[in-house]
């Protein structure tokens, strides 16, 4: 797969962008889980390749696309995004719950009935107590979004403040009726989406209330993690206790075993897939191999439009980027067309000037930092950037940019450093393994001034970009899980965010207009980021692979691939 090396979130496109499927003769477009299971294709070992591991395996802590994609086959929540092809994959369907929740109390109470007879991969039966424990654990392990999503549950704010004593009073379970009731402190139109992502996976009640790291946590999916060594490989095998209860929520998988090997360079990964020695490349494909892949191996390449950002967060709290002019200078200086080239060309990415990706709810076209201004990107304005650096008094400042060490990220980072040097800084690049970089750049203790990272939507809502990435509630100084990497917190903007969220309950259209205004306000008056590109995703699979299915929410269904 392309670029998602260290990225968090899946994501995807709105229905307007939908997905663009290229090539791939023989790949079905039928629903992933809903179609009838073809036993003849069951079996075999699917081999995935990634240059580095994706960090902790704990589903309530990990916030990377790399593992969220695998969690689809290993964990379940009360609800999930439907496992089908295309735009329908945005639809939330019941998973461990028997049906979608009964919503009462003006949208503040969600009542689920838990499905009976489902077992974890350790043989334990799933009970309502596991549900309660899982949500309490979510706060105790400092889930990245516990303070921005799940604190909507009554008692959630107290759990964020003092996780050790969390009881989450708003979550009431009844073993007799097998029901789970969420009482929200306020109406949250996105709560159902937030229950459908892996953070809300139901785990055994006895799971330790700490980040389990490399220790697999039992789940209810068709597969279970057998072993995980971040230095070598991750192995998934069939869950012996799994039985299909809703094929659209958790279908039976095809390979008997799924292995993800770490440690190769992306060049050798591509070669291995070309030679049939492995089945899929997770890392962004190197730009110089795309020509060969798209001609000689066209039938094995898939390209999908994504709603995602590649961006450069600048730490708004430490020098030199605690100075608005310095941040604006960097926005003016970077040639986004060059980033497109480094990513693989105009067929694989588009430049962007906004926080909200093109085609995303709330997106408004404008481009404040480009030669001549306007709504379209017209290239950099180096002279203006140099003038701003001089005016900011930050000229000559030592700047370190932290990026991941895969080929594409490293290349983009080197280019940005070159630009920073050009406009007057003494810049250098620090390349880190994707295994650690994403958490490293979040932690304020590491004093990261500027970094290169990516964001892929959790679900199609503007708040998932603006509130999650630039809201005060997601800035946690000293924590590895502070997804507001720029450390941006402005009470005025936060009030606007809250107002837009409230408005979205009654008038989503008007709310989207408001989100667009917030986006413009953020970039014009605060410039905490340099938005670079909206990428497309490329999946490169081996010639033996069949039954390729793609979810707009969680991307390729790994467990649905045929290797036999």
């Amino acid at each position: 797969m392309l670029k998602f090396k260290s990225t968090r979130k899946l994501g995807v496109v709105t229905s307007a962008l939908a997905l663009t499927l290229t090539g791939l003769a023989g790949f079905s477009a039928s629903p992933a889980g809903a179609s009838s299971y073809q036993k003849a294709h069951a079996g075999g070992t699917l081999t995935l390749l990634a240059s580095t591991a994706g960090g902790t395996l704990d589903p309530q802590v990990n916030y990377t696309l790399q593992y969220w994609q695998l969690y689809q086959a290993t964990y379940d929540g009360l609800v999930t995004f439907q496992k089908v092809n295309g735009p329908a994959s945005f639809t939330v369907v019941p998973d461990l719950a028997t049906s979608l929740p009964k919503i009462t109390n003006g949208g503040k109470t969600y009542t689920f009935t838990l499905r009976k007879g489902v077992k974890f991969s350790n043989g334990q039966t799933v009970t309502v107590n596991d549900v309660k424990a899982s949500f309490i654990r979510l706060f105790k392990v400092s889930n990245p979004n516990s303070g921005s999503w799940y604190n909507a549950i009554t008692g959630g704010d107290a759990c964020v403040a003092t996780p050790a004593t969390c009881t989450l009073s708003g979550l009431v379970v009844n073993a007799a009726t097998n029901t789970v009731t969420f009482n929200l402190a306020k109406v949250d139109p996105e709560f159902i989406d937030q229950l459908a992502v892996p953070f809300a996976a139901i785990l055994p009640a006895g799971t330790p209330t700490k980040d389990e790291g490399s220790t697999p946590v039992p789940g209810t999916g068709a597969y279970t993690f057998q072993s995980y060594n971040p230095n070598s490989s991750l192995v998934m095998v069939r869950n012996p206790y799994f039985k299909v209860w809703n094929a659209k929520a958790q279908p039976q998988g095809y390979p008997n075993k799924i292995v993800e090997n770490f440690g190769s360079t992306v060049e050798s990964e591509v070669t291995a897939v070309e030679n049939g020695q492995a089945d899929w490349v997770f890392d962004p494909l190197p730009a110089d191999r795309l020509g060969e892949i798209s001609t000689k191996y066209a039938s094995q390449l898939q390209v999908h439009q994504l709603t995602a950002d590649w961006y450069v967060p600048m730490n708004t709290n430490i020098a030199p980027f605690n100075n608005l002019k310095a941040r604006q200078a960097v926005n003016y200086a970077i040639n986004k067309n060059n980033i497109v080239k480094l990513y693989g060309g105009s067929r694989l990415a588009n430049t962007t000037c906004t926080i909200l990706p093109k085609g995303f709810p709330g997106h408004t076209s404008f481009c404040g930092y480009t030669k001549g201004g306007g709504s379209k990107y017209n290239g950099p304005d180096i002279a203006k950037a140099k003038a701003l650096v001089a005016a900011s008094g930050t000229k000559g400042a030592v700047v370190k940019l932290v990026a991941t060490n895969d080929a594409v990220n490293a290349s983009v980072a080197q280019y940005i450093v070159s630009v920073l040097n050009q406009i007057g800084y003494k810049a250098s690049v620090v390349l880190q393994s994707a295994n650690i970089q994403f958490n490293y750049i979040q932690n304020t203790n590491n004093k990261v001034q500027i970094s290169l990272t990516q964001w892929f939507q959790d679900y199609p809502a503007a708040s998932d970009f603006i509130n999650i990435l630039l809201g005060c509630s997601t800035f946690h100084p000293g924590s590895d899980n502070s997804i507001n990497i720029a450390g941006f917190c402005n009470s005025g903007v936060d009030a606007q965010i809250k107002a837009a969220e409230t408005l979205s309950i009654t008038n989503p259209t008007a709310a989207n207009v408001k989100w667009g205004q917030i986006d413009k306000n953020l970039m014009t008056n605060f410039a905490p980021w340099v938005p670079l590109i909206n990428p497309k995703l490329t999946d490169f699979v081996s010639s033996r692979v069949g039954n390729y299915k793609f979810s707009l929410e969680f991307y390729m269904y790994v467990d649905q691939l045929w290797v036999k």
């Binding site: 360079t265 992306v266 060049e267 494909l285 190197p286 730009a287 110089d288 191999r289 795309l290 020509g291 060969e292 892949i293 798209s294 001609t295 066209a298 390449l301 390209v303 040639n335 067309n337 060059n338 080239k341 480094l342 693989g344 060309g345 105009s346 067929r347 694989l348 030592v398 370190k400 060490n405 080929a407 290349s411 080197q414 280019y415 450093v417 070159s418 630009v419 040097n421 050009q422 250098s428 690049v429 620090v430 390349l431 490329t538």
Partner: protein, 348 residues
């Protein structure tokens, strides 16, 4: 100067040394003459001088001939070639992916093509050679300097001084060279080094120079210590001690001149070893830091272009092979001329 007994200048050499009107030829002159007669060594020396000179000309080439900046990205750059303007980074025919321009074989115009940042590979190769040779030579000098002091002190004084020096060398020796070098580099190269008034910024070339120099000190110091211990038992040293000469004088006038041939033999070998170590560290990203270049970093840059633009990685690889090979040949020549009985290579 007291008796100079370079082991290289053995009795045979002395016997065949032609007598002149001014008396017998000095051992140094004899060794140098012998070195000059070694055609392989002279050829190697010629290669080294050539490589060094062209690398020293890097700014001249980049600024006045090719008109390129070897350290700035040039992704949207264009060049005029064969009557046409061409992009330095070109889109593939399928529309997917972009590749840097390959070798043009026009010496002043992206001779070896561009890397993924659109930079002139040949210009970077020359700049990289400067850094690689500088680090190799400077670290060898520092290494030999500290190794000589350690070896002389431990071998001559013995006792507690020998015990302390030897244990320090043992500790350093106990770590595999590359493991120690990578560990130190990971810590120091990215964060810099600061002790008292000494501040070395992250990314400075001084860091790989110091790290590489220090890790090889035991490999030179221990054989030198052995040579000094042997020399100390020789009659002329005993005579000097008996005549009441000070330790400093004995070390300076009697021991050092007799150890010097071994040091001279060590030096080119250490330059080669250090250059290879630097290349390895830079290839791994813990040596010379971008946008600076060394042959190791250029190989790393070329790794992602190995299939479409192999020259990016091959050219610095060839330069390393040529330079390290020449240094080894020269080292062999030095050994044959100055210290033919030495078995120094086995200790490294």
């Amino acid at each position: 100067m007291g008796e100079v007994v370079p082991s290289a200048v053995d009795n045979t050499t002395a016997a065949i040394a032609p007598a002149t009107a001014r008396g017998p030829e000095s051992p140094w002159r004899s060794s140098l003459r012998q070195l000059r007669r070694n055609k392989a060594s002279m050829a190697a020396l010629g290669v080294l001088i050539f490589v060094t000179l062209i690398c020293l000309c890097a700014p001249l080439y980049a600024n006045d001939w090719a008109h390129v900046n070897a350290f700035s990205s040039n992704i949207s750059g264009r060049i005029f070639l064969n009557g046409h303007w061409r992009s330095v980074i070109q889109a593939n025919s399928s529309g997917y992916g972009e590749s840097p321009i390959g070798p043009t074989w026009h010496i002043s115009n992206y001779f070896l093509g561009a890397d993924s940042q659109g930079r002139d590979v040949f210009a970077r190769l020359l700049y990289g050679g400067r850094d690689s040779l500088l680090i190799g030579t400077a670290s060898a000098l520092i290494c030999v300097f500290f190794a000589t002091i350690s070896g002389l002190a431990a071998g001559y004084f013995g006792g507690v001084i020998d015990w302390i020096v030897s244990r320090l060398l043992d500790i350093t020796w106990a770590f595999p060279v590359y493991l120690l070098a990578i560990s130190l580099s990971v810590i120091l190269v990215t964060s810099g080094f600061s002790v008292g008034p000494i501040h070395v910024q992250a990314g400075s070339l001084l860091l790989p120079i110091i790290i590489i120099a220090l890790i090889y000190v035991p490999y030179v110091a221990r054989p030198l210590r052995g040579i000094v211990m042997t020399l100390k038992e020789r009659e002329f040293i005993q005579a000097a001690i008996g005549s009441g000469a000070s330790d400093w004088r004995i070390l300076r006038k009697e021991i050092l001149p007799n150890v010097a041939p071994s040091i001279i033999v060590f030096f080119p070998l250490m330059v080669a070893f250090n250059m290879l170590t630097e290349s390895a560290l830079s290839f791994l990203g813990v040596g010379v830091q971008p946008p600076n270049a060394s042959w190791g970093t250029i190989i790393n840059d070329g790794l992602e272009l190995l299939y479409t633009r192999p020259w990016v990685a091959m050219a610095p690889g060839l330069m390393i092979v040529i330079t390290a090979g020449a240094l080894n040949l020269l080292g062999d020549g030095f050994r044959d001329a100055f210290d033919p009985k030495a078995k120094l290579r086995g200790s490294i």
